[in-house]
Symmetry: C2
Subunit: 342 residues, 2 copies
DNA sequence: GGGGTGATCAAAAACGTTTTTGGCTTGGGA
DNA sequence: TCCCAAGCCAAAAACGTTTTTGATCACCCC
C-alpha cells in the first residue's frame, strides 16, 4: 500500500506519482521534484514484484552456468570474473542477475531449464555462455523473443549479439611463436570438440602451420575437458609417441599446468627440452616454476561489455546484429617456452 | 490471463485451480489430478511475478558477492563452487539465486546494497558470505526479519544459522604436523584480519604452538589478501628476517604458491630447506612442483548444505539456532613439506 | 469568441496470481 | 427428521504497481 500512501501524503493521484517517479514527461518538473524528494524522505521503494507484474518486465537478466563436465560439481572459475563484470554494469541500471545452474551436463535438462527461465517470465534477457558449434539455445531464446547475448560465437544463419575473444588469432599467435623458436612438432591440447571456441583455436593452430607449409598431424590435436587432470593425461599420451612433440599449446592455463607436470614426470626440462604455452593468464601463471607463457584476455572487462550490450538491447538502443565485440588476445611471454631442442 | 484460461478449460473456478496446483488439502485428490494433468498438457506455467505479488514471496535467495580486495575486479573463484552447491539444492525446490556484487569494497555501499535487497522485497532469504568478526549484515537481516544463513561464523550474541569449515582445527592440524616434522620457526601467512576465519586460523596456529610450550612471534603472523601476489610478498618479507622461518602455513593455496615462488627465488628447496602448507586443495595443488601439501574442504558440498538449510528455514522446519554445521577439514599430505633442516 | 492544442493530472483498468470468506453439498449421528 | 461437520468448491478481495484513457484548464491563433 505504499504508493497510495505516498500519493495521499502528497495530495496527488497514484498515477501521477508513478509517472513522476518513472520520468514520464507529462508531469511537470516541479511536481516531479516534489514527488522524488518526498519519496526519498519517506523511504519509499517500489515493490519489485508489483512493478514487474504491472510493467511486464522482471528487471532481471538470466544466466545458466554450465557444470564442469568432469566432476559434475565445480563451476569453471572463469565465470566468477565474467559475471562480476556483467553485474558491475547492470547493477547501477537496476538490473539483477538471476543465476541458475545445470547440475549435470544433460541436453534435455538444459533445454528444460532455459524453457523455464524464458517462458516462465523470470528474466528480461539472457546471457548464454559456453557456446557450442550448433547451439539450440539461441533458437529457444529467439523463439521466445527474449533478447540475449552470447559469450562466445556459434554457427548461426541469423545475426545475433555476441562477445568473444579472438581465439583463432590467439592460437595462431602462440603457434607461430613456437614455430619461430624452431619447433616443428607442436601439439594442440584443446578443449571439448563441441564448443565453438575449440574449433576456432584449432583453426588458428592450423593456419599458423600452413603458413609455414607444414602439415598438421591429427594425432597431435587432442581434446580434453579444460582441467589440470585432462591436460596431464593428454600430454602423457603425446609424450610416448615417437617422435614426440617438442611443444604444446594448451586451451587453458590449468591444462598447461597439467601438461607441465606430465613433462616433468617424463624427465623433461620445461622451457628447454619442451615448451608449453597456456591460455588465460591466471593469477598463478606468473608464480609457478617456470613462470608460464600464456595468453591474456580480460574476462572481467568482457563481462562489462556483455552487461552494457544487454542493457542497450533491452532499451532497444541497438540491434543484435550490431553487437559484435571481438577482444584481441595478447601473448604474455614468460619462461615455459624456449628454442626447440636439437 | 493464463490461470483463468485453464480454469475455464477445466470448468473450474480460478481459486480451485490455484489451490489444486499449490497442494492445498481442501481440494479432492481427483480434482487435483485432473488439474495438474491438464495444466501440463496445456503447458501452463504460473507467472512468477504475479505469484510473487500474490503470495508476497519472491522464491529467490539473494547473495552479494564480495569484490576481491586487491584488484576490485575479480571474484574469488571459491564462490563458484559454493554457489554451485547452493543452486543444486534450491533449484529443484523452485528457488533461484539472485546474485549481486559489490563493485568495490566500501562499507556504506555494501549496506545500501543489502538494504535494497532486503527492504526492496527482492529476495525471501539471504546468504551472507565472507563473514567478519563483527558483522553488521546480520543485524540488517535480523531487523528486516529475513531468514539467512552465513557461510563462516561471526561474533554474535544471538543465535544464527551458520555453515563453516573448522578453520581452527585445520590450522592446528597443519601447524602440529610441521612441529612433528621438527620445525620450530613456523610462520602464519593469514588472510585479512577483519574476517573471522583469519582469527580462527590464528587461534588454531597458536593452540598448536602452546601445545608444545612454544611462544608465538607476532612478527611471524602476517595478514594478506589471499592472492598469490600477497603470499609472495609476505613470504619474502619473512625470509629476510634472521633467523628466518623454516615453515609457512598459508591461508589459501594461492598464497602458498606465492610463498613457494618467494622461497624458490631465495634459493631454497621446497620440502627440504623450507616447508609450505596451503589451504583449499585447489585442483592445481596436485600438479605443481612439488605437489602441495594442503588442507581439503568440500566447498561444493558446503554449498549444498547451505542450500538445504535455507530451504528448511524458509519452510520454518528448523530454527536458525539449529543450523550449525562445522565441516571437518582433512590434511592432504604431498611433497611441499618435510623435516626441518638442521 | 471559438476551436484547437498542449500541459497537467485523475480515474480506472489492467497485470495474474494467492488467500480469505463463505456457500453448497453429502453423510452421519442424535 | 433435524443438525452439524466435513469436504469441496466459487466468488471476490487482496497484492502494488504501470499504463491507458480521458478530463480539465490555460493558452494561442485565427
Amino acid at each position: 500500500m505504499s504508493i497510495v500512501l505516498l500519493a495521499k501524503d502528497l495530495g496527488l493521484s497514484i498515477s501521477t506519482v508513478s509517472r513522476a517517479l518513472n520520468g514520464y514527461d507529462d508531469v511537470s518538473a516541479a511536481t516531479r521534484e516534489r514527488v522524488t524528494l518526498r519519496a526519498k524522505a519517506i523511504g519509499y521503494r517500489p515493490n519489485p514484484s508489483a512493478r514487474r507484474l504491472g510493467a511486464g518486465s522482471t528487471s532481471a537478466i538470466g544466466v545458466i552456468l554450465p557444470a564442469a563436465s568432469s566432476t559434475g560439481q565445480a563451476v569453471d572459475s572463469m565465470y566468477s570474473s565474467l559475471l562480476g563484470g556483467v553485474v558491475t554494469e547492470i547493477e547501477p541500471a537496476g538490473y539483477h542477475l538471476l543465476a541458475s545452474m545445470q547440475a549435470k551436463p544433460d541436453a534435455a535438462r538444459e533445454a528444460a531449464l532455459y524453457e523455464n527461465f524464458i517462458r516462465g517470465g523470470w528474466v528480461d534477457a539472457l546471457l548464454i555462455v559456453r557456446t557450442r558449434v550448433h547451439d539450440a539455445r539461441l533458437d529457444l531464446a529467439r523463439a521466445a523473443k527474449v533478447p540475449f547475448v552470447t559469450y562466445g560465437r556459434t554457427e548461426s544463419e541469423q545475426p545475433y549479439a555476441w562477445v568473444d575473444t579472438d581465439n583463432e588469432k590467439a592460437f595462431q599467435l602462440a603457434t607461430t611463436r613456437l614455430l619461430d623458436l624452431g619447433h616443428r612438432r607442436i601439439a594442440l591440447i584443446n578443449g571439448p570438440e563441441e564448443y565453438y571456441f575449440a574449433q576456432l583455436r584449432r583453426r588458428g593452430y592450423l593456419r599458423a602451420l600452413s603458413g609455414r607449409k607444414l602439415k598438421a598431424d591429427p594425432a597431435w590435436m587432442l581434446h580434453g575437458d579444460l582441467t589440470e587432470a585432462s591436460g596431464h593425461e593428454l600430454c602423457r599420451s603425446l609424450l610416448i609417441q615417437r617422435p614426440a612433440p617438442t611443444a604444446f599449446v594448451c586451451a587453458t592455463d590449468a591444462m598447461a599446468f597439467g601438461a607441465i607436470a606430465a613433462c616433468r614426470e617424463a624427465g623433461l626440462a620445461i622451457g628447454s627440452d619442451v615448451s608449453v604455452i597456456g591460455y588465460g593468464n591466471s593469477s598463478l601463471s606468473a608464480f609457478c616454476d617456470p613462470p608460464l607463457t600464456t595468453m591474456e584476455h580480460q574476462v572481467f572487462e568482457n563481462g562489462r561489455y556483455v552487461g552494457r550490450a544487454l542493457l542497450q538491447l533491452l532499451r532497444k538502443e541497438i540491434k543484435p546484429a550490431d553487437v559484435h565485440y571481438l577482444e584481441p588476445v595478447v601473448l604474455v611471454p614468460r619462461k615455459s617456452d624456449g628454442p626447440a631442442p636439437r
